[in-house]
């Protein structure tokens, strides 16, 4: 009988330890999301680049109070960049208009040599002209990448012909505090991204009657 009581006490302690009485709404949301949640969120780099209209774009100030999907790439990229951006564009088309207004898609080129303001604008025009694309000098662009925790491996720019530019594979999802908390690998279906955004929006902007 004593043993049984001891077991009950141990069980009670274990149960208590395993199930916190108060759960973080973000963690709860993350459990039903497809996106991979980063152990340590990464802040949006505090840098200013130039958008496709030639206007300055402050990565931190101009992305507050919204959900931001960020992708690093280059417009000459043969497959992963157009596939990723077209997939994100399709996901955006699946959102309710009120949610769509709270989400911004940001493309940061890593190829200053080929991607000027006009090239970024033309490329995004073929995908979704509401997306924001930013460029800058190669030093500035790699600075943004470095602030975000990535090191650009050396790559060669030939005098003529095509060349590749290394870039992170993921689409990063920033919450309104401008922290990248989630990432999507290539091959994530647009439905999953759209569903995730709706779940996440509920954490910041709960709808009436929602949970």
């Amino acid at each position: 009988m004593k043993k049984l009581t001891l077991c009950a006490v141990v069980l009670a302690i274990l149960t208590n330890a395993c199930i916190p009485t108060e759960t973080n709404p973000l963690d709860t949301a993350a459990r039903s999301m497809t996106a991979a949640m980063f152990g340590e969120p990464r802040p949006m780099p505090a840098r200013t680049l130039v958008d496709q209209n030639g206007d300055p774009f402050d990565l931190r100030i101009d992305t507050q109070d919204q959900l931001t999907l960020l992708f690093f790439g280059y417009t000459s990229c043969p497959d992963i960049c157009p596939i990723t951006m077209a997939t994100v564009a399709r996901a955006m088309g699946m959102l309710e208009p009120s949610l769509r207004e709270r989400v911004e898609v940001l493309f940061v080129t890593l190829d200053a040599n080929r991607d000027g303001v006009d090239e970024v604008k033309a490329w995004l025009g073929g995908i979704d002209s509401t997306f924001i694309g930013v460029t800058g000098s190669q030093e500035e662009l790699e600075g943004v990448l470095a602030d975000f925790g990535y090191v650009m491996p050396p790559f060669e720019i030939p005098t003529e012909g095509f060349y590749e530019v290394p870039h992170p594979a993921e689409v990063f999802l920033f919450t309104p505090e401008r922290l990248a908390r989630f990432g999507y690998m290539p091959n994530t279906p647009p439905e999953a991204i759209a569903a995730d955004l709706a779940i996440l929006a509920e954490v910041w902007w709960p709808t009436e009657g929602g949970e």
Binding site: D79, A122, V151, P153, F162, P166, A169
Partner: protein, 194 residues
């Protein structure tokens, strides 16, 4: 940054939970055949399909199979070119035979150059490396898909529209040449076979 994600990516790239050997291109050697070889390859592939029709072209959209060697190619698709004359080739290659085979290269009369590549990840950064060949082990399947192994097509002869069919010949070491019709897909529909 996301180790689990990268593992998943690698698994996809390898296909069917199997390790897939690959041959990195050395010395910039290209594996393109001459025009005559392409024509011969197409002819061989047509007869290899075992169709009752002779002399005709394979039906657009049809997948190819070389029954004796047991290699079948399905889910064949190419990417609608965005703003360039480049495209990517994706497919599932299944080897139902008892002998391992090797994909030695790609050819198409509608492109200037076709080669095999693999997306690689290093420290979270994605890059690409050229491959000399892709192993297709016995009783297994290999995925050529976005973010993994794939074919790169350069110098497209004309602009390709979504829904078009593009003939691509795959050269296998044992099964020989196999011509398939790849459907041009919108980038948002390029991921899977569906």
């Amino acid at each position: 940054m996301s180790g689990a994600g990268m593992d998943a990516h690698r698994q996809r790239a390898g296909g069917a939970n199997r390790r897939v050997g690959d041959g990195r291109r050395v010395g910039g050697q290209k594996l393109r055949g001459r025009t005559g070889l392409v024509a011969a390859a197409v002819a061989v592939a047509i007869s290899a399909c075992g169709s009752s029709e002779t002399g005709g072209e394979p039906a657009p959209g049809a997948s190819g199979a070389a029954p004796e060697a047991g290699v079948a190619v399905t889910g064949v698709r190419v990417l609608a070119p965005a703003a360039s004359d480049r495209s990517s080739f994706y497919a599932t290659i299944r080897n139902d035979g008892d002998v391992p085979d090797t994909l030695l290269g790609l050819e198409s009369t509608l492109v200037a150059d076709a080669s095999l590549h693999e997306m690689t990840m290093r420290d979270g950064m994605m890059g690409m490396s050229a491959l000399e060949w892709i192993a297709v082990p016995a009783a297994s399947s290999v995925e050529l898909s976005p973010g993994g192994l794939h074919g790169m097509l350069e110098g497209l002869s004309e602009s390709w529209e979504v829904g078009d069919s593009i003939p691509v010949t795959l050269r296998f070491a044992k099964a020989g040449p196999l011509t398939v019709w790849a459907t041009v897909r919108d980038p948002a529909d390029a991921r899977g076979n569906h």
